[in-house]
């Protein structure tokens, strides 16, 4: 290989999204009329008049592994250290709708998250945590409606009123087909299930976010910041259209739509992408759907700092990356922030690194003072111009998707997936060639590099066995006839297009029906998604 460390890196005039960035920007770049004021349409400068003074962003760390007991212990640790919301990582069997005792599931039980195969696990997971007081976010998609139903069932058991529940389910299937892969059903019935949960949540859990339309995963897979926003807003429009088809009231459901993105290292591109996205969404809601209530025009979003921008070589550099990215998230006006831990590039974070990630947010929140004034970058010649540039680039990509025939068609035919793979290859080659600088990886490497800090997180290898054992026990102790009756009712309801499935799913959860059984009832009606393999 060529030794790039001897090549002097240069400041590129192109942003990572391929936007030509001028070296100087003058006052003529600022168009005050399209910017507006903080808390006012089109919300370029933020959705709240008083920024973070009214309410700080939520510090929310993604966590969960092994058994429900271990995860419960980690949650209490994080809450004790000042975390203000829970974020639940679920294992792949739960995400793909398999029970832990199935052959395909066994090697993955408890690996990338906690197993939540029945209500029994959920009861342990939230033991000692008052669901009426804490907000919980679930990264769950293919089985989102089921996990949401399970959360409501636990709340029922804890005696917490549903209107007290706050939190988020990701529930964004479209990006699963593109980048994350935990789809189960074909696109149409999946869209229905999402509409079911949103409509149900609007009335039953009015403070809960029943969807978090996510760009983070396409970004991590290779999309540029511009594509991340464009694909995500296009998906958002598809959900709005579906909800309207189901008779939803856009003034109502639009208030509960939220978004989720990655923040990578190009500081101003990241800040400006959020400002641009807020403006595009508000305008679409107002102009395309006639939404009048400002709250229903709001583009609310959470972010994750880190992800694929973190690398294993010289891992302590990642602390600096996460700090820079967190500042971009704050200046972009995020509602909740998850900071990756320095070792997240190669393992489940240790308690040390998890704590450091929380501390990073607290230092930026309470020591740096950057959150004191709302949108402090507003009016900067460059920031306003770059926001305009990103807005134009996003609208162009969204137009390309519409010209193709919309996101659903583009996904079913594998077109977006193919575009993303090509982009990912391009990004990889730019890093390999040293054109994109990654300090410690392709430039500024030390000869005798230690790639990982000393401490290694080890999953308890026996954890999966304990999960499977308890699952079997639940199967033996539950009232089998109740389970079967509830599953039959679910399957019958799934056959009727206009029937909301949430009450049936909640009923199933209460009988201790398993995730795999509920998915099985739905699959019997709907079949499975056929992945288009197109390279």
């Amino acid at each position: 290989m060529i030794d790039f460390t001897k090549v002097e890196p240069r400041l590129s005039q192109m942003s990572p999204s391929g936007i030509n960035v001028p070296v100087r920007v003058g006052a003529d770049a600022v168009h005050a009329d399209s910017i507006g004021e903080p808390g006012a349409y089109p919300f370029t400068r933020g959705i709240f008049e008083d920024g973070f003074r009214g309410r700080l962003w939520t510090i929310r760390q993604y966590s969960g592994f092994g058994t429900a007991e271990e995860s419960n212990e980690r949650y209490r640790f994080l809450l004790d250290r000042g975390q203000t919301g829970l974020s639940v990582a679920l294992d792949l069997p739960t995400q793909c709708g398999l029970d832990p005792n199935e052959e395909m599931a066994k090697p993955e039980v408890g690996k990338v998250g906690v197993s939540l195969s029945t209500l029994a696990e959920a009861e342990i997971l939230f033991k000692g945590i008052d669901l009426g007081k804490i907000s919980t976010s679930f990264t769950i998609n293919g089985t989102a409606a089921i996990v949401y139903a399970m959360y409501l069932a636990v709340a029922d058991k804890q005696g917490v009123a549903r209107d007290k529940l706050t939190g988020t389910i990701q529930n964004d299937i479209l990006k699963e087909y593109v980048a994350r892969g935990t789809w189960i059903f074909p696109v149409r019935p999946s869209m229905r299930l999402i509409a079911d949960s949103i409509l149900y949540s609007n009335t039953e859990t009015p403070r809960f976010n029943p969807i978090s339309i996510a760009g983070a995963h396409v970004r991590d897979a290779g999309a540029t910041a511009v594509e991340e926003i464009a694909y995500t807003l296009a998906n958002g429009l598809a959900y709005v259209d579906e909800l309207l088809r189901r008779g939803g009231d856009v003034e109502k459901f639009a208030k509960r739509l939220s978004f989720f993105f990655y923040v990578h290292m190009d500081f101003f591109e990241e800040v400006c992408k959020f400002r641009a996205a807020r403006r595009i969404w508000a305008r679409l809601m107002k102009e395309r759907y006639g939404v009048l209530d400002p709250k229903a025009q709001h583009f609310r979003f959470g972010v994750v700092c880190g992800g694929s921008s973190l690398v294993a070589p010289q891992p302590y550099n990642n602390v600096v990356r996460v700090a820079v990215e967190t500042m971009a998230a704050v200046l972009g006006g995020a509602q909740s922030i998850f900071t990756c831990a320095l070792d997240e590039a190669y393992q489940i974070p240790t308690e040390f690194s998890a704590e450091l990630a929380v501390r990073t947010q607290q230092i930026i929140a309470y020591e740096s003072g950057i959150g004191r004034t709302v949108d402090p970058l507003g009016g900067s010649y460059f920031v306003e111009q770059h926001t305009d540039q990103i807005e134009a680039a996003v609208l162009k990509v969204m137009g390309e998707i519409e010209n193709y025939g919309g996101v659903e068609k583009a996904i079913e035919e594998g077109w977006i997936q193919m575009r993303l793979a090509e982009r990912a290859l391009q990004r990889k080659l730019h890093i390999d060639s040293g054109e994109t600088v990654v300090v410690g990886q392709n430039h500024f490497r030390n000869p005798d590099e230690v790639c990982t800090p000393g401490e290694v997180f080890r999953l308890d290898p026996a954890a999966a066995g304990r999960v499977i054992e308890r699952h079997q026990k639940v199967l033996q102790t539950r009232q089998q006839s109740d389970v079967e009756r509830a599953l039959k009712r679910l399957e019958a309801a799934a056959a009727k297009d206009k029937e909301n499935l949430l009450p049936y799913l909640i009923e199933c959860c209460h009988t201790y029906a398993t995730v795999g059984e509920m998915v099985g009832s739905l699959r019997a009606q709907w079949g499975e998604f056929q992945e288009p393999v197109r390279l």
Partner: protein
């Protein structure tokens, strides 16, 4: 390595890979397929005939496909941490099907501490996302040569 040596290594790799059949597969439930697709595209650009399985395939399905398609090598992409179990399963099914000599490569989030275990299973190359693509392709070609 000089630029000239670098180009020579690439040419050698392309000569080796031309027309070779390689199966790129996603065993288990992990849905992160970009690494697999990047490798598939790079191998194809280097002249290989690439078959990509798509997501969530059982070890049995992957071994069956490898045998039916008569591939020279199987590349397994795993980012969920289940690589040791899944690789062992695929290798076992290949042997059972009388294709124990098929070369197996693994890519993904593979900690160094697991390399020995994977090599003991017969894995010829282990690749992580921070490796330059050209190095991955060259190393794979060298093993196939």
């Amino acid at each position: 390595m000089t630029l000239k040596e670098n180009n020579e290594a690439r040419d050698r790799a392309e000569t080796t890979l031309r027309g070779r059949r390689i199966l790129v597969a996603k065993p288990g439930l992990d849905g992160h397929d970009i690494g697999a697709k990047i490798i598939a595209l790079a191998l194809r650009n280097a002249g290989a005939e690439v078959i990509y399985t798509g997501l969530r395939k059982s070890a049995q399905y992957i071994a069956r496909t490898a045998i039916d398609e008569g591939v020279d090598a199987v590349g397994l992409s795993i980012l969920s941490g289940s690589h040791c179990e899944l690789v062992a399963q695929v290798v076992a099914h290949l042997r059972e099907g009388g294709a124990g000599d098929t070369q197996v490569f693994v890519g993904g989030t593979i900690p160094e501490s697991d390399h020995e275990q994977l090599k003991a299973l017969g894995v010829r190359g282990i690749y992580t996302s921070d490796m330059p693509l050209e190095r991955v392709i060259n190393s794979l070609a060298m093993e196939l040569n």
